[in-house]
């Protein structure tokens, strides 16, 4: 189902974004100290003499975490921006980013030709379509003139990769959100249950478990039902088995070296991950597990929300996702059960390596409507959120409600542009600050970002009394020390084996055939896993159908594109 497909993909790219306000050592580390003393002139947030109205396309998420009384259109962040830049923020539309509604709104705005002054688009295709149709402003000039050195440095930490993605004919048509690699998809396991049942895994202490160990945990959880719930489930997945990230099978397929729905390239030869024998192996194993009852018998009809409730109800104790899931999904589990704790692992392949894909560094892209008289506002807002808010606490010290937002964290949708511009190494840099802070090597205030400083406080509070810690402290401890901690451990031990996917622009055959091919893929994979199709002949059939129905042509087109 496309709606979920898009939701999930957004998720991996973005979602990440919304909660990981992180920071780092970047090029401008040194000028940072002078910043507060400079006049407002230099921080790229010049006000304008007359108040102007600016319309935005805005994202929402269910339970977006806004404080009582604040709305997406009117909250501490928007009031801060309105005050500093002397503008009036109006929302042209607001839509849920999780289920694809936001993308649909953008599609509608595009087709009606009635764009908000500033909005985010989720793909380069949309950006290109807008640029080709001359519907958006060239931002090259305002970017050079208004973006702070810090902001430019962050974008440059990806080399040309980030700017290239938004540049057409030498013109910068949008401001790219940037996302650092998050490493392999992680397995989150209820450690309190493992303890209760006396389950021991990861004997070599390398933070990676094998598929057999995963299966064993799931089986124990399902059979012994430590959550004392009705209908315990071993493992549950969303229906789009080829998707990446949260509640998906991507960690399992990566252990086979399979990267479904991913374009890969070696020696100039483009291949499609879903067609590879490794993908078939993944499906065969999943089919076996399904038959044994270890995988949710309702696979295929369980939605994202259903799986969240399984976790919260104590029916499910294993889940898959990124480092930040404890901040916004698993925190619900802790709310419901004070004893809940999680341990985080990677899944290793036969050689003891944990496979991962490099992420597309560019997720959302902010664009400005053609003809909007103040395109610099988009750059100024970027300066405020991705430079000032992170590195210069004094720049918003006069706005206590903003300070409060930053402390609570995770209110991404309150920002007029709900994206993140992160330096390439931000995750690990921040973690090392936090670890030092927690160990007492540095004082909390010495951490490089405001967010890290706050998190050090959270984690110390958690460690002082884990059993009675607040859910926020619990969540921050898990996401940083365990989630990013896993990435750090695997990175340092050299256990991660990265592959670099190709991120092609939509080709003409993709446009006409991809929806069908995706349907064929989703349907076939589910039927193989649920046993409605035999793995061998079913998969073989799928490969030839896929090639025949336009897939072969698409591969040719991508090959031409990357030449």
């Amino acid at each position: 189902m496309k709606k979920r497909g898009i939701g999930k993909r957004l998720l991996s790219i973005l979602l990440a974004g919304c909660l990981m306000v992180s920071l780092t050592a970047c090029s401008s580390q040194n000028d940072q100290d002078d910043k507060g003393k400079d006049t407002a002139k230099n921080d790229g947030t010049e006000s304008r003499p007359e108040k102007i109205e600016v319309t935005f396309g805005r994202m929402t998420i269910p339970n977006g975490g806004l404080p009582e009384g604040d709305t997406v259109e009117d909250n501490a962040y928007t009031r801060w921006v309105e005050d500093i830049l002397n503008i009036d923020i109006k929302d042209a539309f607001e839509a849920n980013m999780m289920d694809g509604s936001y993308d649909r709104q953008v599609s509608l705005a595009l087709s009606s030709g009635d764009l908000p002054d500033i909005m985010l688009v989720s793909s380069r295709e949309t950006l290109k379509e807008l640029a080709d149709n001359d519907m958006i402003e060239d931002l090259t000039g305002v970017w050079d003139q208004y973006a702070t050195d810090t902001l430019k440095g962050i974008i440059n930490s990806y080399g040309d990769a980030a700017l290239d993605k938004v540049t057409f004919d030498g013109k910068m048509m949008g401001i790219p959100a940037t996302t650092p690699d998050t490493g392999p998809t992680q397995v989150w396991v209820r450690s309190d249950w493992m303890q209760e049942l006396g389950i021991k895994v990861d004997e070599d202490q390398n933070k990676a478990i094998s598929l057999d160990e995963l299966k064993m945990i799931a089986k124990e959880f399902k059979d012994k039902n430590p959550g004392k719930a009705e209908n315990p489930v071993g493992m549950a997945f969303v229906p789009n088995l080829s998707d990446d990230g949260i509640y998906t099978m991507s960690a399992i397929s990566a252990a086979f070296g399979a990267y479904p729905r991913t374009w890969l390239e070696s020696d100039g030869q483009v291949t499609y991950g879903s067609l590879q024998p490794q993908t078939k192996d993944t499906l065969s194993l999943a089919a076996e597990w399904y038959k044994e009852g270890i995988i949710d018998p309702q696979l295929g009809t369980r939605t994202w929300d259903d799986i969240t409730s399984l976790l919260v109800n104590g029916q499910l104790g294993i889940t898959f996702g990124m480092w930040h899931v404890s901040d916004w999904l698993l925190n619900n589990v802790r709310e419901a059960d004070k004893n809940a704790n999680f341990e985080v692992y990677g899944i290793e392949d036969a050689n003891g390596k944990v496979n991962a894909k490099h992420v597309n560094p560019v997720g959302f892209i902010a664009v400005v409507r053609k003809g909007f008289e103040h395109p610099e506002i988009a750059v100024q807002i970027s300066n405020m959120f991705y430079d000032s808010l992170r590195y210069s606490p004094e720049s918003f010290a006069n706005y206590p409600e903003v300070v409060k937002y930053v402390e609570v964290g995770g209110i991404g949708v309150a920002r007029p542009m709900n994206m993140d511009i992160e330096p390439a190494t931000s995750l690990l840099d921040n973690l090392s600050d936090i670890q030092k802070g927690v160990n007492g090597e540095i004082k909390a205030e010495e951490a490089r970002t405001k967010e890290s400083q706050d998190i050090i406080v959270n984690i110390k509070a958690y460690l002082a009394d884990p059993a009675n810690a607040s859910t926020t402290d619990w969540a921050k401890y898990h996401s940083r020390m365990k989630g990013i901690g896993l990435l750090q451990a695997l990175t340092e031990s050299g256990t991660i084996n990265y592959v670099s996917p190709v991120f092609p622009l939509t080709t003409s055959t993709m446009q006409t055939a991809k929806v069908n091919l995706d349907k064929l893929e989703d349907e076939t994979f589910l039927r193989i896993v649920t046993g409605a199709l035999p793995a061998d002949s079913g998969f073989q059939d799928f490969v030839s159908q896929w090639n025949k129905q336009g897939g072969e042509q698409i591969i040719k087109e991508i090959q031409d594109q990357i030449k």
């Binding site: 189902m1 496309k2 709606k3 898009i6 694809g100 993308d103 649909r104 599609s107 595009l110 087709s111 009606s112 030709g113 149709n133 001359d134 519907m135 009705e230 209908n231 229906p239 789009n240 018998p297 309702q298 696979l299 295929g300 009809t301 446009q511 006409t512 991809k514 929806v515 069908n516 349907k519 989703d522 349907e523 589910l526 039927r527 649920t530 159908q545 129905q549």
Partner: protein, 318 residues
């Protein structure tokens, strides 16, 4: 809306025929026509004018270039549609589910209205009527979550099945039972509302006929069969012919909220398919082409139905 207009128009015509001898447009005829005016304006603004947009179906429509700037591609989108590998399966699903809803829905609504008409206690009758109308006013988005809760593997329906010693059935994930679930829930939701028209038709039957039949010794069954149903026939035919136009739309919001890749085999219908390809995949022209084709087929079916009823029953719908 259209049905309402149509009924007023029939009244106007009848009045006119009665008055033909007097003047071309009698006073009553004229006032009926006047009543149609707001509806006609609505229809022209929202149904006829947008038809110009159908030109999209023959273009490679790009929003920013508009209707005049987009390239004309003739029947390309129609040709493309028929070479899609899944199109016949989708057509089969669509027609199957739609026909199921039309036939079962009509039969149940008629049966229900006949039975309801037999109830003499007014309070009881009204209460039942209200209860069965209610689901009609609930949106599928809301009902879908109720249905998911009832019919999933841990839901109440399966618990009842297990109670009787039967196997659990994954109604929402089993492509063999999914169409049944769709038809069944739709009929349940709509039969009360649909029976309003039939109930009205029954009330319009001259009670004298019933009395005469009763005096002649006809049983209840005989009276239903020989008096009530023939009396309802014009309305039944009208409603059936009208619903034929929807044969290629099996109910988007219902299916969209209940289906999953597990049941694409039997549950993916034209609307959901076009939605995925057209709006999400942003192929507006293709979406328009499918919509146009659907309307044409609906119109042909309606005209055929009209012709057939005229031939066999000597009554025409319009």
């Amino acid at each position: 809306m259209n049905l309402l207009l149509f009924i007023i128009w029939r009244f106007a015509l009848e009045q006119e025929e009665d008055m033909k001898t007097k003047s071309r447009l009698s006073r009553t005829g004229r006032s009926y026509h006047l009543m149609m005016l707001p509806g006609m304006i609505f229809l022209i603004v929202f149904s006829y004018i947008p038809m110009a947009g159908l030109i999209m179906a023959f273009q490679n429509f790009i929003p920013a270039k508009g209707f005049f700037g987009s390239e004309m591609v003739g029947l390309q989108h129609f040709a493309y549609m028929f070479q899609l590998p899944d199109i016949w399966k989708i057509m089969r699903n669509t027609v199957g589910i739609a026909l199921g809803k039309i036939i079962i829905g009509t039969v149940i609504a008629i049966a229900f209205s006949i039975l309801l008409n037999e109830i003499r206690i007014k309070f009881f009758k009204k209460t039942i009527q209200t209860i069965v109308y209610l689901p009609h006013f609930l949106s599928w988005v809301v009902l879908a979550s109720v249905i998911v809760n009832m019919f999933n593997l841990d839901g109440s329906v399966n618990q009842i099945l297990v109670g009787f010693g039967a196997e659990k059935i994954n109604f929402l994930g089993n492509y063999k039972v999914f169409p049944g679930l769709i038809v069944g829930t739709d009929v349940w939701k709509e039969y009360g509302y649909n029976s309003v028209v039939y109930l009205a038709a029954i009330t319009a039957i001259d009670p004298g006929l019933h009395e005469a039949a009763a005096i002649d010794g006809a049983s209840w069954w005989k009276r239903v069969w020989n008096v009530t149903i023939p009396g309802m026939m014009p309305i039944i035919l009208l409603m059936a012919a009208m619903s034929l136009t929807t044969i290629l739309s099996a109910g988007f919001d219902q299916i969209y909220n209940l289906y999953s890749p597990m049941v694409y085999e039997t549950g993916d219908v034209l609307d959901t398919y076009v939605y995925r390809v057209g709006l999400v995949g942003r192929q507006y022209s293709f979406g328009a082409a499918v919509g146009l084709l659907r309307s044409i087929i609906g119109m042909v079916l309606l005209l055929t139905a009209n012709g057939l009823t005229k031939k066999f029953t000597d009554r025409k719908i319009f």
